[in-house]
Homo-oligomer: 205 residues x 2
């Protein structure tokens, strides 16, 4: 999975355009123009527009996997939650536009390659969360009876909501720039999700 300069130009151009116009809303000519290459180069290198999206996702997907090794070093269950959330949000946020596209595309159509890879990713991250929670329950730090699927959904959903309602939230939070918004996600939003999960896992009744 190594690409030459021109291929990377195309992948990055596609990433930018898909994020603002969607997959169907972006033409291969748009991509070619944005990447400063000839239209035919996209089919030459990637086969088709669909395969470009597949390749694109496979290129980025490893970045979204939660690192298990790092978590294994942490003993305290509450700290584990914090680190897990922090790393998850950071990885999604660093490629947030891609994550946006993938979520939309896999929710709309049967994209075999993407759906399969995306499914594996979610399954991995779900298992990591599950084990962190179960460990905390075993230690007596967390209350039982909380479905990890729901907690996982809450984390992913809250983050995604910040992508999908970007302009509304930027206005409401009085955030001027793109970079400040990204920083807000990695600080305030991350802390909110950490607090929410911990509140939930220690909540009586």
């Amino acid at each position: 999975m190594d690409f030459n300069e021109k291929q990377i130009d195309i992948l990055l151009a596609a990433e930018r355009l898909f994020a603002t116009k969607g997959f169907d809303g972006t033409s291969v000519r748009d991509i070619a123009h944005e990447a400063n290459v000839n239209v035919a180069m996209i089919n030459y290198y990637f086969g088709s527009k669909d395969k470009l999206l597949d390749t694109f996702f496979e290129w980025r997907v490893p970045d979204f996997m939660i690192n298990v090794d790092e978590l294994a070093l942490i003993e305290n269950a509450l700290d584990k939650i914090d680190t897990m959330v922090d790393r998850s949000i950071k990885s999604m946020n660093s490629h947030r536009k891609l994550y946006h596209i993938i979520t939309i595309e896999s929710s709309l159509k049967q994209r075999m390659l993407i759906s399969a890879a995306f499914r594996k990713l979610k399954l991995h991250n779900l298992e990591v969360i599950s084990s962190v929670i179960n460990e905390g329950v075993a230690q007596g730090v967390f209350k039982g009876g909380n479905d990890p699927i729901l907690i996982h959904s809450m984390m992913m959903g809250t983050f995604m909501n910040f992508q999908m309602n970007y302009s509304f939230l930027q206005e409401q939070l009085r955030i001027a720039s793109d970079t400040e918004y990204a920083r807000y996600i990695e600080t305030t939003l991350t802390q909110f999700i950490q607090k929410t999960i911990k509140a939930l896992l220690t909540y009586e009744k």
Copy 2:
């Protein structure tokens, strides 16, 4: 805002197709075929494909507004949260496919009419949540320092995640049918969000 039978056929056909294929992924010929009408009827009645989406949204948007009158009758702050969440989820869930499309479309493009109407809707619901929380804080039932925007985002995001990751979650939760999934959202997921908000608002530190 009253439509004849044929117009409603078109709106319903569009709703079904947009939900599965997206707006750009659906052609006016698809819609015409699904609604059993001539292609030209869509432009005849709605002007254009874009205006069809606008009309479509305006047609449904009142259903998504949280009813303030009902909440005013409830005194207990915790009960207010429960009712507010229950009604929000119920309304979104009853038109969940439309909500799916609108979220995607308004996140991708500058759709003036939709964005404006959607913005008003979110603003209304956000204000309702804010007042419920502030009331609870004034009563001493809730801890202060929780931004209503984040709680609102959490609720909407968690719900939306259940739309966007439909097949993954259906598989993980071992839910066989569409109706059972809808029921799960209105029971288990609703309770989870209610619990999460209450845990958050009463959480120490």
